[in-house]
């Protein structure tokens, strides 16, 4: 049976974050913590693979204790096991330190519950928004890396291969590779199901497995948390809109307005740069 690990992060709903206009700082109070929604598309795909091929699904989250809520949500949807990796010493991690801890956790999940065939991450998170943790984990565990997956075409259990559609700027790439692999999920991948009644009942009683730094005897303490993070936020600021003080007209007839705009555009270097005048020269010639 396949063993799938889904990485799920609990994030502040950044759409709800406001800036205090007086202090120019973030107002975090009252901002709801939610499961990063791309990660839920990863979990949904794991559940679909489970429905089709049979699989065991373990969810893992690195975060503070309240992140338990997100793990329970995953259990209610049909995940089999959930691990919360939590320790003050993990705090302040950038993507390098985060992928280190998550890779260690996935390794340990493999040791506890059987070798891992597939790992799902989200495309990116709502808060850090880097999309770097997935490739980081794949690199550390030497997994085949399939980012920006919008469709899982199929898994060949015998040959141990997976075929997916990767989304690129100008089209879709069909890629086949071997297992174990790490996929990062787009929202186009699927539609996330609702929790079932038995799922919700199971989730209500469920206690995730908790791992701290001390549960990883070989963890290098220099590679975790703030100390293990090469990137430092030096400052944050609220961007100011550079005012253009452009020329705006009103109360004009459509023809006047159109002539105004055309006059202005033709007074710039755009007609030269874009060859707008060539055609008319030909016509007049």
């Amino acid at each position: 049976m396949l063993h799938i690990v889904c990485c799920v992060k609990q994030v502040p709903d950044s759409r709800e974050i406001r800036i205090d206009p007086k202090t120019n700082t973030l107002i975090r109070q009252g901002v709801p913590a939610i499961a990063n929604f791309y990660d839920m598309h990863g979990l949904e795909e794991a559940l679909r693979i489970k429905d089709q091929y049979g699989a065991r699904i373990t969810v893992v989250c690195m975060g503070p204790p309240p992140a338990e809520k997100t793990l329970k949500q995953c259990i209610s949807l049909g995940a089999d096991e959930a691990v919360l990796v939590t320790d003050r010493r993990f705090a302040g991690a950038d993507t390098l330190a985060t992928s280190y801890v998550l890779a260690k956790a996935i390794q340990k999940i493999g040791e506890e519950w059987g070798p891992v065939d597939l790992v799902f991450c989200g495309k990116q998170t709502l808060d850090g928004d880097t999309g770097q943790v997935g490739p980081g984990i794949a690199c550390r565990l030497d997994l085949e890396q399939l980012t920006y997956v919008e469709k899982v075409v199929g898994i060949d259990l015998e040959k141990r291969t997976i075929t997916v559609h990767r989304h690129l700027e100008d089209g879709v790439e069909v890629v086949e590779t071997r297992l174990p692999a790490l996929l990062t999920a787009l929202k186009e991948l699927n539609k996330v199901r609702r929790a079932s009644m038995p799922g919700m009942l199971r989730a209500a009683r469920f206690k995730p497995v908790i791992w701290t730094v001390d549960d990883f005897p070989d963890m290098d303490k220099k590679q975790i948390g703030l100390k293990g993070s090469p990137t430092i936020v030096a400052k944050t600021w609220v961007p100011e809109q550079k005012p253009v003080n452009g020329e705006v007209v009103k109360d004009q007839s459509p023809q006047e307005a159109a002539a105004f705009l055309a006059d202005r555009l033709w007074s710039t270097d755009l007609p030269d740069k874009l060859g707008w005048n060539q055609q008319s020269e030909e016509v007049s010639a």
């Binding site: 974050i17 973030l26 100008d170 590779t177 090469p230 936020v233 459509p254 105004f260 555009l265 755009l270």
Partner: protein
């Protein structure tokens, strides 16, 4: 991550004198470079000049010799080129192997890549391998002069409401991915001279598990990033039909049609047309915003256009703050009139 107010002092940093130069990784598909690659060479060259070091480009692919030449014309002093059938399509393992080898050999102090799907895939793998810090999706890049030589990599945060400047003091190289359409490419200068150095790909096809079986070009997908003229419509259009008016104006100007998220979410036009934080960041020569209010998440996607025109019936719409030329009025009357006027002047 910590928040430190103090400016970086070199004495809290190791000696990095071995690491010099700015490396830009050129992204291409089928021998066509992504425009972001040349934009990165543009900004990379500025950083290199400030640091008094070389601007270096890396071109990977198969049959991509012409891109090495173009990289020099676009600002590189030195181009490393790895031309090998194994690299004919992008795959993480061989591409990251070539990059890593080069970075370890030449030790650049800064490595820049596009924040594209491929760039993010590759940068994430390389930064972990090295290991070093990687700042994602930057929109401003600067350096502190010698001796600190720190890369000041700034990126939008929290739905574009803030900008964060991120430093990497204790590791080299300093890596960043950068958004397409933010930085300015240098015009091609055929008289520029530079050195082209071939390098080899150590990876053999048999060692690579991933196989790209097919590429399905999306015919519908518009190339907003490379368009010179974009005529974009928002909620003010009121439905899918009026996008035809924008298409006619765009055709007359030799451009393409873009959209705000409100128009995309309403289902009036495909997501591939969306400009803004969760759509495309564009840098056209001309951007015409029609029936778009100018929310910050939209502005971040288009405010680097050379010339911005706004057509909106609300004189207080924030889009007028960034517009060079604006008309307050009804788009249903003004857009067709403008299309006629443009056609007349162009003799179409």
């Amino acid at each position: 991550m910590t928040v430190k107010k103090k400016a970086a002092q070199p004495n809290d940093m190791p000696d990095w004198s071995e690491y010099r130069g700015v490396l830009v990784v050129v992204e291409q598909r089928d021998g066509v470079a992504k425009s972001v690659s040349w934009q990165l060479l543009g900004i990379g060259r500025k950083l290199a000049e400030k640091l008094e070091v070389e601007t270096i480009a890396l071109v990977m692919g198969h049959g991509v010799g012409h891109l090495a030449e173009e990289a020099i014309q676009r600002g590189a002093d030195k181009v490393y080129i790895c031309d090998d059938p194994v690299l004919s399509v992008y795959r993480t393992r061989p591409y990251s192997r070539v990059c890593l080898q080069l970075i370890r050999d030449i030790k650049p102090e800064i490595v820049l890549m596009g924040a594209t799907y491929t760039g993010r895939d590759l940068a994430g793998a390389i930064a972990t391998h090295l290991p070093t810090g990687l700042t994602a999706d930057t929109t401003q890049l600067d350096v502190e002069p010698h001796p600190s030589r720190l890369l000041l990599a700034s990126r939008p945060a929290f739905s574009e409401k803030m900008v964060a400047t991120i430093l990497c003091k204790q590791y080299r190289p300093q890596m960043a991915t950068a958004r397409a359409g933010v930085f300015e490419a240098l015009p091609r200068d055929p008289s520029r001279k530079g050195e082209i150095i071939p390098i080899t790909c150590e990876m053999k096809e048999e060692e690579i598990a991933a196989r790209v079986l097919d590429f399905i070009q999306d015919e519908k997908r518009v190339n907003l990033e490379d368009a010179d003229v974009i005529v974009a419509g928002g909620r003010g259009l009121g439905g899918p039909g009026p996008f035809r008016l924008l298409k006619e104006l765009a055709d007359a100007l030799g451009g393409v049609v873009g959209a705000s998220r409100a128009a995309v979410d309403a289902g009036w036009i495909g997501h591939e047309h969306q400009v803004g934080q969760t759509g495309h960041t564009v840098r056209p020569k001309l951007y015409i915003a029609v029936g778009i209010s100018g929310a910050v998440q939209h502005l971040v996607g288009m405010q680097n256009a050379d010339v911005i025109v706004a057509i909106n019936k609300d004189p207080d719409a924030p889009i007028f703050k960034v517009a060079h030329f604006g008309v307050v009025g009804d788009l249903f009357q003004i857009v067709p009139a403008l299309t006629e006027e443009v056609k007349k002047r162009r003799g179409l």
